[in-house]
Symmetry: C2
Subunit: 281 residues, 2 copies
């Protein structure tokens, strides 16, 4: 299988530069390696077509990549998805990187979610969470097991104590509702001239916290198996399905068509829907 760069240079859009190196991509790459090393054979090889693995738009201002690895049969992994978008805009560029590892219905343990959205060289939005799969107010035992006992809230505090961090409120109330009470949802703004400060925060503090949250997830969630009766499992599956459909609706189907030509974005969205197991609404 050719590497991304050789594939890109052979394509018709070879003129479009690849997404620039930046600390947020380095963080995502390190996390993906950490997950892959730990999950090992529980992840099947990458399963997206070449023109989705890397995609560009005709105007030459946007480039993206998507990788989806399904869980091996018999494992609790549903899929791991990594995506990266880079889009030039009149005053700079927008860069979005995300890593999701979703579990299947053999367990009710939380999913892993990291999303980094950078609209300028001096500010970044971070969403990092163990995404709950049950109603936490109805299931205090679940809250205790995955959120209190794991002390994941300490990781949130490490980011929020940064003087440059402010709460990030997703405009979608659904996204806010779907996240856990320990979710890191912050906007880190280093102000004019703060490029170096932001790079340092992302490569150090954020990289460390993201790695630790992922390690908590790998240790406490990825292997978890839950005994459930049929009613509990049905409820879990229904809730998962709603969260997946809504996240796609809010996130990708909103962003991709703004950045890429319709054929490109619909091809990419269709692969994401396939991984999420949700139909077009």
């Amino acid at each position: 299988k050719p590497s991304s760069s050789s594939r890109a240079s052979a394509g018709p859009d070879a003129a479009v530069a690849p997404a620039p190196e930046m600390p947020q991509r380095e963080v995502a790459r390190a996390l993906a390696e950490q997950a892959v090393a730990s999950l090992g054979p529980r992840l099947l090889p990458s399963a997206v077509p070449d023109d989705v693995a890397e995609f560009r738009n005709g105007a030459g201002n946007a480039v993206g990549s998507l990788d989806v690895r399904c869980g091996a049969p018999g494992s609790s992994i549903d899929f791991m998805m990594q995506s990266s978008l880079h889009c030039k805009v009149p005053n700079g560029a927008i860069d979005i990187t995300s890593i999701l590892v979703f579990l299947n219905a053999t367990t009710d343990a939380p999913h892993f979610l990291l999303e980094l959205i950078q609209g300028s060289p001096t500010s970044i939005v971070v969403v990092l969470d163990l995404l709950p799969r049950k109603d936490l107010a109805l299931h205090p035992d679940y809250l205790q097991k995955y959120y209190e006992n794991t002390q994941v809230d300490k990781q949130r505090a490490k980011i929020e104590e940064l003087p440059q961090a402010r709460p990030y409120r997703s405009p979608s109330l659904f996204v806010r509702s779907a996240c856990s009470p320990t979710a890191i949802m912050v906007s880190i703004d280093c102000g004019q001239g703060g490029e170096g400060t932001l790079e340092e925060i992302v490569s150090e503090r954020l990289a460390t916290v993201a790695k630790e949250v992922l390690q908590i997830w790998l240790d406490c969630c990825a292997d978890s198996i839950a005994e459930m009766d049929a009613i509990e499992r049905d409820c879990l599956v229904e809730r998962d399905q709603i969260v997946r459909s809504k996240s796609i609706e809010v996130d990708l189907t909103a962003n991709l068509p703004r950045m890429f030509d319709p054929d490109v974005s619909s091809r990419v969205i269709s692969e994401i829907r396939k991984a999420f197991g949700v139909q077009e609404s």
Copy 2:
């Protein structure tokens, strides 16, 4: 029925001064009047014994009041509870005021909750929410009806835009989980010499926002009736019960015994349990 002051002056603890007037009490009083005026005959008369309606501790450093009015039969109101605590501490005083209006199982509409916790003359913690009664991630229609369509999130923004406001994270992950994504949970800290600024914020901005959130609740929740099948109602009742038990555990049973003699706090807690319809755990 005697007024609070004549009842207090007649008691054995007449030496203890009544809780001082302060803007947070004025806000709570105005809200209670607004609720009573709107709910009218749907609220039965006050139903707590005199020694719970107003209570003091032997050492003379703490005074509190509790009022509970049950909903009239056939109404959707379960109860309205107002409480106020004032406790002198070595460097000042702690003042806590709260108003809850809880609905019964004829509806799944959110409860109303306001809690103000002031540990110094220059700072206050505000918790103001329409407390959801369903899992918002599983019920996007509920989220839309009570939280999106009512635009209650705009009220949150009015408080959070204050430069003195910082997010307040309850140390209890359960409390955070029980609140809605539009909950106002902030600490407003006006810093040294900021007494006047805080009073102004509480009497003006906070008073206005609290009044508007209560009005949204009165208009959209208090009268709401929901068609539910038996399974839905059982789930609602179970969730309500867990939220009520946990809130009492986290909040009052933690605070009251630290401020009041055991016989006083257990008498008050027992009235609160009665209103909440939960047994000692």
